[in-house]
Symmetry: C3
Subunit: 265 residues, 3 copies
């Protein structure tokens, strides 16, 4: 957390072969020439909102206060889904109202959400297929230039909240979802540190669709024997289940979208 000059980040499923990412950057630079633009990734699997939401939520909180994050994984472009600006305690998120932004935004603390409806804050010709360049990038640049939040459009109270952004807590139970399985087979959930208040020695019962297990929190992989499972807060701030020198997703038959519940007695 720190204060700095204006940084923008981009997260999309556009890939790097086509001109689309460069056109979004051009649209920012036309309105805000001194922009410091950082790519989070453009290699989200096409239309995989959950994976995009995870990568964005992982990276966003490392950026300085005031950073404007633009994200586009948008199967509904051209339909009636709303273009949003979300103001959080740490910065801003700009993108479609399809769940892509809300995981990251909730991690930072949501302050206010606006629907982008002001036509004069978009490119003068808006194509029906490329809101990244024509709506989101200009909105982000205008935001950086000092346009106030209320000028973009009306307040939104009913942001789309997909299952993968929902965590429910009761006294001794937390329910969430598997968000991502990384290259090592680590099973990463949507349950972040702030949803957990277990003291480290407590035994946790974990239930997944195809497996049940009992674990204590570990600090690093080496805390357990090779091929043994462990529970830890990963370097991205989310609860994950790993297997020391093994593949947890295979061992537990777990995949993105699976429900997961944690209980302790």
């Amino acid at each position: 957390m720190c204060v700095t000059t204006q940084i923008f980040t981009l997260t999309t499923d556009f890939g790097l072969k086509d001109p689309y990412v460069a056109e979004m950057k051009a649209a920012i630079l036309c309105l805000y020439p001194a922009a410091q633009i950082i790519d989070i990734t453009h290699d989200v699997n096409k239309y995989d909102i959950r994976a995009g939401a995870y990568v964005l939520a992982s990276a966003a909180s490392y950026f300085p206060t005031g950073t404007i994050h633009i994200a586009v994984v948008d199967p509904g472009v051209g339909s009636q889904r709303r273009p949003l600006i979300i103001q959080t305690e740490q910065g801003f998120f700009v993108g479609p109202d399809n769940g892509l932004l809300i995981l990251a935004a909730k991690k930072q603390g949501v302050k206010e959400v606006r629907d982008i409806t002001s036509r004069h804050l978009m490119l003068h010709q808006v194509s029906s297929t490329f809101h990244g360049r024509d709506v989101f990038a200009p909105a982000a640049a205008h935001l950086a230039s000092g346009v106030r939040l209320e000028e973009f459009g009306p307040v939104v109270e009913d942001v789309v909240e997909p299952a993968f952004a929902k965590v429910t807590k009761s006294e001794n139970r937390v329910d969430g979802e598997v968000l991502y399985v990384d290259d090592f087979g680590n099973v990463i959930t949507n349950i972040d540190e702030r949803n957990l208040d277990y003291s480290k020695g407590v035994i946790i019962q974990i239930e997944l669709p195809h497996s049940k297990l009992q674990l204590k929190f570990s600090k690093t992989y080496a805390d357990v024997k090779p091929q043994q499972p462990l529970l830890l807060i990963g370097s991205q701030g989310y609860l994950e289940i790993a297997v020391n020198q093994g593949n947890a997703a295979n061992q537990l038959q777990a995949k993105p979208g699976d429900k997961i519940s944690l209980t302790h007695t």
Copy 2:
């Protein structure tokens, strides 16, 4: 269109695994430390000048006035092809005289073309295999630093103009070429909005090597029924033939390099 600090773009077929792209950026930064360098793409298929020309022409016009675009897809490096600077109404293009630049440059309006021959404006050791780093990047940086166009070398009157950059118009006919087939099978031609003056209701006869069809202009894919073809100006400003929820290139047996003619009666 807007005015800004100095932006450079890069378009190459170098890929991102090797050190080449970074070396070009280093060569720019040595001469122009405050450069804002934006990648258009480095994933053009090796030696595919037509595809490189298309991506460059698509992206370039979204950048601010004065942007310097460097492009290198250069099967003829080390041969006698000339290194060029092209000044347009909107900015500059620097790269080989093999057709890579001219499609984008013509879209912006060509003002003047120079052959880069001044040895003192190149790296002091010019390798015979890497003009991107040793000739084009330094030329672009010197241009940004205020070196005048005439100092780089003599005027060029006979820029190489490949078939894919040529569009011919007569009273009721336009002849062009298929430039690119994108991931969705959309058939993108080299005929841009400025070559077309049909009113929207007119029926256009389209002739490709393996198919003939008659279409009116549409505004979006959803204007026609699923699996039906349509004619539209794509988000990159070029005429394209698409099939709603289908693959136009397959349906029409069309591929890059095919001749296309449009007539109306």
Copy 3:
């Protein structure tokens, strides 16, 4: 070689799909908002220290004096390998003490090496698995902000020097190693221009594990007939064996890690 504002480069095996590269950039920007950050590559093959060392050594010397190069190809993260800052005649290298940095650093001339041990110059929470973000990026940013070398930790006298960084010379013999085979099959060695003082006409005897040959130095590929081998200093400054319009690695059965010796009589 030139003087400029603060440039950082990044070289990793992280790929561009995951949030890791963006998190390293965020860590730099938090401490040094005006950073000019340039990617060398993030596509080094996972854990391939030799390939990472080659790409870094190739690109680094083209950057302005004072550039800070951060590199992370780090199979030993979490173990006892030391995090290093190496000051050279041209700039700085920050990364693990596993041989990744030393090839590039020696090419520039090593001045001083420090072990990064000062806890307050790292992120306040250091994960055991992500030193790129938590140790190397903050160290580089602090260095740029004026923290003196001695504040990071003690001097290191015994930097890990892998075989691929070692070249031995005697009166008429140089011994080195094959560093990299590029896409064209060129066999690139770790022997750089400075290790060679042969006049151009001398006949060199080359010994590789599976082949012996005698060659004079050439200036470009076209100096020999098609399918004939040649010896040259490549555009990266290293001795390489190529075959004009052919594949030297296949013809000589050479691969990274092979010993190579050059003698002349």
